[in-house]
């Protein structure tokens, strides 16, 4: 029994780390969905590009003689975030904007196309295998009530909280945030009020992409590696998290992400015990989908979503 409880705390910590990464990715989905009602299927790929570019830049900086450290890492993340932001902006401008009035499925399938394209482009650039994340910051374990967490994992959680707080400030307190909320409510009327909706939508994509880039780096640091395939599943899970919390709702995405991380890590830790070895941890990847399906059945608008009429 004691062993079970020890695992519990460890799994909760793991779940929180995983969950904060999901939450950051989920924010990208939820912001875009909230403002133009599009599932940006390619968002997972942006996360992947963020991680891969960071790794490449770090390798390159090491080649230039930069000492490994927090500053080098920050520089690399900044470059990666800029690449991702430019990608998101281009995507929005050349692919999604012209289709804003098209039937819903058209941009969705287009997004799937972008996702496949980017994934394979990444494979061409970085190869099929995984890339190890360079050891830029020394990893130290920290003991918390018998469970261990590394300083890196700790910073992942802290940084996510800071970013989420900053995002809330941006959306709630600034002019841009107000414009975003107005555009989400009604594009035409927002336009009539003098808001440049193209610019606002573009900004939404760009902000989402920067969060995604940071989340990608976090994921790569957490697992010590990244590959060209990582975006797809991560994106799907994060989307599930966004739906779980109520898509279009910022706090929903945060809560949904953390909840999904917890569910996954607890489920992975305990399915073996609960089912008596019948189902093992190799089923970990399906929990996100099962949660998604259950949530949509019971509460189609998510935990924090508001009821809204079908947009006909």
């Amino acid at each position: 029994m004691q062993a079970t409880l020890d695992i519990l705390l460890q799994q909760v910590l793991n779940g929180l780390v995983l969950g904060s990464i999901y939450a950051l990715v989920a924010l990208g989905y939820t912001m875009v969905y909230g403002i133009i009602g599009l599932i940006n299927f390619a968002h997972g790929e942006i996360v992947m590009v963020g991680a891969m570019v960071t790794i490449s830049v770090l390798t390159m900086l090491a080649g230039f003689g930069f000492a490994p450290g927090v500053l080098t890492l920050l520089l690399a993340i900044m470059i990666a975030a800029i690449v991702c932001m430019l990608m998101a902006q281009g995507m929005e401008k050349f692919a999604y904007r012209p289709l804003r009035k098209a039937p819903r499925l058209t941009p969705l399938i287009l997004a799937i196309g972008i996702s496949i394209f980017l994934q394979n482009l990444a494979m061409m650039i970085w190869g099929r295998g995984y890339k190890t994340f360079p050891e830029v910051v020394e990893t130290r374990p920290i003991e918390v009530f018998g469970a261990t967490i590394t300083n890196v994992q700790m910073s992942i959680m802290v940084i996510s909280v800071v970013i989420m707080f900053a995002l809330w400030l941006l959306v709630d307190k600034t002019r841009l945030g107000k414009a975003m909320r107005a555009t989400a409510q009604n594009q035409e009327v927002a336009g009539l009020m003098g808001i440049n909706i193209n610019r606002v939508i573009s900004a939404t994509f760009v902000i989402g992409a920067s969060l995604g880039a940071v989340a990608g780096v976090m994921r790569a640091v957490n697992y010590g590696q990244a590959d060209a395939y990582m975006g797809l599943l991560l994106g799907l899970k994060a989307f599930s998290a966004a739906v779980l919390g109520g898509i279009g709702n910022l706090f929903g995405a945060m809560a949904g992400g953390i909840l999904l991380g917890l569910i996954e890590s607890l489920a992975a830790g305990y399915t073996g015990q609960i089912t008596g070895g019948f189902l093992g941890a190799n089923y970990q990847d399906i929990f996100a989908f099962i949660v998604l399906i259950l949530v949509l059945l019971v509460r189609p608008n998510g935990l924090m979503g508001e009821r809204q009429a079908d947009r006909a």
Binding site: P98, P103, L105, I112, I116, M124, N282
Partner: protein, 414 residues
């Protein structure tokens, strides 16, 4: 009207003659006949998905799950696997006239099971949930080798019996050769023409595809088909007209799944081996792309899309394999590792495929060979009367009446 049928007959004859021609060409040969056979299976899959997406407007991204169910059903019921793990006495070798209908029914049931909980969801949610279902099916097939070894996990099931009809025995003892009445594995000849097994398979698949096309066409113009399209265009209005949304959507899921299940069973017999590898999300997306590229809701378009997307990659692979050593030898200003990554046949193929999906959706969302109605809907603003388009048979097609209000309707929902 008579001319019409003659044209169709000619087209069918041409498709029947195709494998013999391909087989005779020296640099194509049986490998390419095999590819044609797979292309036929993809046509069947695409026709099935077309019912779900094209007619009923439900974006199903886990469609390959039904294909997997059909494939595994056939694999289990006509391979030594169940005997080896001690779940069956004797080597199961069920005849196709049992397995194929069974695959159809089982897939349809699964279609209803998947469809029922997600009916209330709007289009894009539906896509993600069905995608989740497809992945769940695949993950289970990957892991159901314990505690009871049903699917043999990632290794998959091999030694699957070829398609055959056998009236008497449903299983045979271990080590015994099964007695079959009519097996596609046998060589036969007609009018002095040698028909190899791979050609027999192709012809059999072609027959099923023709059946599926007729079925699709009849469905399209039937009461149910028109109800599906009404639902696709405007759910609220369709319900107000007295259509039963739930039953119609479930029926669409079930019909589409049937095609997938049958296709899966045939695939299993054709390949002689199944593993979860064949049923990934990418395969679902591939079939989706076939439907989208050809034109959702247009049978001729979907057939064309499936043929292009199943044959082009193979051409592509040959081309890349042929060009790779040449480029590697002559291009020296780029590092060889990078070149090798870029010239990887499957990566390059998927890259082009993603690009095609992007370009088609961006510039021609109605697909390459759409139905008239669809085109009118998607080009509502630049709609102008065009000359009647030539149909499959070369005669001018009867233009479907597109009411004026439909042309100018704000179609922001599929």
């Amino acid at each position: 009207m008579k001319n019409h049928y003659a044209q169709y007959a000619l087209l069918i004859l041409a498709f029947m003659a195709l494998p013999f021609l391909v087989d005779a060409v020296p640099f194509l040969g049986p490998t390419w006949v095999r590819i044609l056979g797979f292309a036929m299976l993809y046509v069947l899959l695409a026709l099935g998905l077309n019912i779900v997406i094209g007619y009923a407007g439900l974006l199903d991204m886990g469609y390959i799950g039904f294909y997997a169910i059909g494939a595994y059903l056939y694999a289990l019921l006509s391979s030594p696997h169940l005997n080896m793990v001690g779940l069956a006495e004797g080597v199961l070798n069920w005849p196709i006239w049992i397995i194929i209908p069974l695959a159809a029914v089982l897939a349809a049931l699964c279609g209803v099971l998947v469809g029922a909980p997600v009916l209330k969801l709007r289009g894009d949610y539906l896509a993600i949930v069905t995608l989740g279902f497809g992945e769940i099916i695949r993950i289970f097939m990957n892991n159901l080798d314990q505690p009871v070894n049903i699917t043999n996990g990632p290794q998959g099931i091999s030694a699957i019996a070829p398609l055959h009809i056998d009236a008497a025995a449903w299983s045979h003892a271990v080590g015994e050769t099964p007695r079959t009445l009519l097996s596609l594995q046998a060589k036969w000849s007609v009018l002095g023409l040698q028909v190899s097994p791979v050609i027999s398979y192709y012809l059999f698949f072609l027959a099923i595809v023709i059946l599926a096309i007729i079925l699709s066409k009849r469905l399209e113009v039937s009461r149910i088909g028109r109800a599906w399209m009404a639902l696709r265009e405007d759910e609220v209005a369709a319900e107000a007209m007295g259509l039963n949304k739930r039953n119609l959507k479930l029926l669409a899921f079930a019909m589409g799944a049937t095609f997938g299940g049958v296709s899966g069973a045939l695939f299993s017999a054709y390949q002689g081996f199944v593993s979860p590898e064949s049923f990934t999300l990418m395969e679902s997306i591939m079939v989706l792309a076939m439907v989208v590229l050809g034109g959702m809701g247009s049978i001729r378009g979907v057939v064309l899309g499936a043929l292009i997307l199943s044959i082009m990659p193979e051409v592509f692979r040959d081309l890349v394999n042929w060009a790779q050593p040449f480029v590697l030898d002559n291009v020296t200003f780029i590092s060889r590792d990078v070149l090798r990554n870029v010239l990887d046949a499957s990566t390059l193929r998927m890259l082009v495929f993603g690009l095609a999906l992007i370009l088609v959706m961006r510039f021609r969302p109605e697909g390459l060979w759409p139905s008239q109605r669809r085109r009118a809907e998607l080009h509502e603003l630049d709609a102008e009367p065009t000359a009647p388009e030539a149909g499959l048979d070369g005669t001018p097609m009867q233009r479907e009446a597109v009411p004026q209000d439909l042309l100018f309707k704000e179609a922001d929902k599929v």
